[in-house]
Amino acid sequence: MTSNKSKNSDKAPSAKTKAPAKKTSGTTAASTRGKNKTVDAEAAQLEANRVSERSQEFSRAAREEVLEHNKTYVKDPVNASLSKEDKIRLYREMIRIRRFEERTLRVYQQGKVGGFLHLYIGQEAIAVACASVMEANDHVITAYRDHGIALAVGMSMNECMAELQGKFTGCSKGKGGSMHYFAPDKRYWGGHGIVAGQTPLGLGLAFALKYQELKGCCVCMLGEGAVNQGVFHESLNLASLWRIPVVYLIENNGYSMGTSQARSSAGAILAQRAEAYEMGWDHGNGNSIYEVRAKLANAMKDARDNQRPSIVEFMTYRYRGHSMSDPDKSYRTKEEIENYKKNKDPITLFEVTLREEGILNDEAIKSIHADATAEAERSAQFADMSPFPPPEELMTDVYWESDHPKQRQSHGSLFFETV
């Protein structure tokens, strides 16, 4: 499956790689291969990864397990009502996230992305499931590993890729970066950098829905590392006390940067902390999109209809380090990562499922993969060709009032050092 070459391709070749800016038809990694050998190696690795995702490689035991598992969750009303097209769309959305993240990885290694990059690779089922069960008045918010949910709610690869590079065409005009994708028009509220800092914000969005007498809920995503921050507990207490329709969705990928759950958290099941606040909770396999949809939709319905907040915790995994700055050498084994890729990958699990259901075949799969790769490639080119914001943009979007001078009611100086 994955060769030993994988170790070398993890190293950042940024010092050696020159970004090939030429246009390509971009249907596969092969056609984007530049003359640079390091880029070749990376592209080859990606191709190998893709092959490894194909269900033909999937171990027999894992295959049987997923088909058995699906029998429970495919019957859940939220999944039973899915059409063939819906299921293909779910699969496509996961692939799009995977390809986008892989492409951003290369962009980062080319030195075009500053600061942090927290990849969502391995967790795709959760973001796609969440977006797919949101109803007209439901909202979602997350922390800094936000590319997955951003694409899942419908943000474009172009604006997301451009944002990473600090370009003016980015979704936050280059002012936020990787951790701060926002799309209020799609009821997605970021993109937040302080661990657990978003947990009272999600509570607040849900509070606003209740205050405005709208029937909706807010899904507040967080990692398992966030459950120990004090403000999360404050938020749980308020949610339960005031019956606020928030669903806290813990994406438990096992590691808070380099610290495993066992080394950081008391209590085996983190969602169970809800009991301390008389809140409901659920726990499940985050790699099964059917299961995530079923359990999350259930929790959201309870929040929406009965104003009962809850915690749902899904076990998942990230294949890459915490961020690109994480050498990912000290806290887990290569074997553990390979085991997940081989036997638990959420995309492969769903591919097996859909092949079994007669919805996907080789041709369809290849086409979806190729389209996603091409879309990601085009977004990288879009970002490359986009301008940076002009210096004056430092001063915009600071205050509503300074952005609306005709409606400004206050007087005096709002800024004390300007461009």
Partner: protein, 324 residues
Amino acid sequence: MRQITYRQALNEALDEEIARDPNVVLIGEEVGQFDGAYKVTEGLLKKWGPKRVMDAPISEAGFIGMGIGASMLGVRPVMELMFWSFSYVAFDQIINNAANVRYMSGGQINCPIVIRGPANGGTAVGATHSHTPENFIANTPGLKVVCPATAYDAKGLLKSAIRDNDPVCFMENTILYNDKWDVPEEEYLVPIGKADIKREGSGISLIAHGRAVITCLQAAEILSKEHGVEAEVLDLRSIRPLDEEAILETVRKTNRVVLVEENKPFCGVDAQIASLIQDKAFDYLDAPIKRVSAIDAPQIYSMPLEKIQLPDARRVVKKALEIL
């Protein structure tokens, strides 16, 4: 004209804005059933009910963060801190979320919150309850901060703050709550960002905010009676945005200035104002800019020493005489 207390003025402002805008909701510890720790919200729960006036548990980070999140969807929370000293437990929410969500989203969100409460020492409540963090807030682009000294200003500024579409931090003073001032019956607003000359004079400028304004007015009386100097007292009222022009105008008029604040000296608001004056009114100065701030130690408990620690009229007069 009728006279009401600073406290009553705040109460009226809250009452009027709750009546005016269905999005306004009060949240804080003891604001409802207890009628407010300092009775600022007295009677409001009874009048408006628990949807509009919410008693919060002791969770500043939680309920202020909640208010920020709710404001992103158009709710306009007015959140009380029993003391601004308690803001620090919510500081991540205030500094990282309230101040930044608009910027980080490229202007897609705004945060029309008000956080209000007393920010003052002078009441023997010790080092952890006596903070005046207007300087920390003022250092943060994206936030606004105002410090009214009189009932008239308190009412007008609070109404303006609630109507403002940006996050406004509103700093009151428990010692000022009982002071009575002329306040009209009719509705009025005091615009944010406009300083106010509380006493005219041409001998020296005393620039202050909050309770230090009252101290400066007392100092001005002493300077007039005992030294024949007529001081001009400029009340900043608003720290960010700052009325730079009013500051420069009074300096151009008197050529001498003492800046007075109840905060500790290093990086207090007056440090910024001193920088501004020497930069833009250098040629008008006939003497160095002088500052009077709190004695540079954690706020002491012992009452006679705390009295010494905070600026008083005598200390302001003494400093003024150094440059007259």
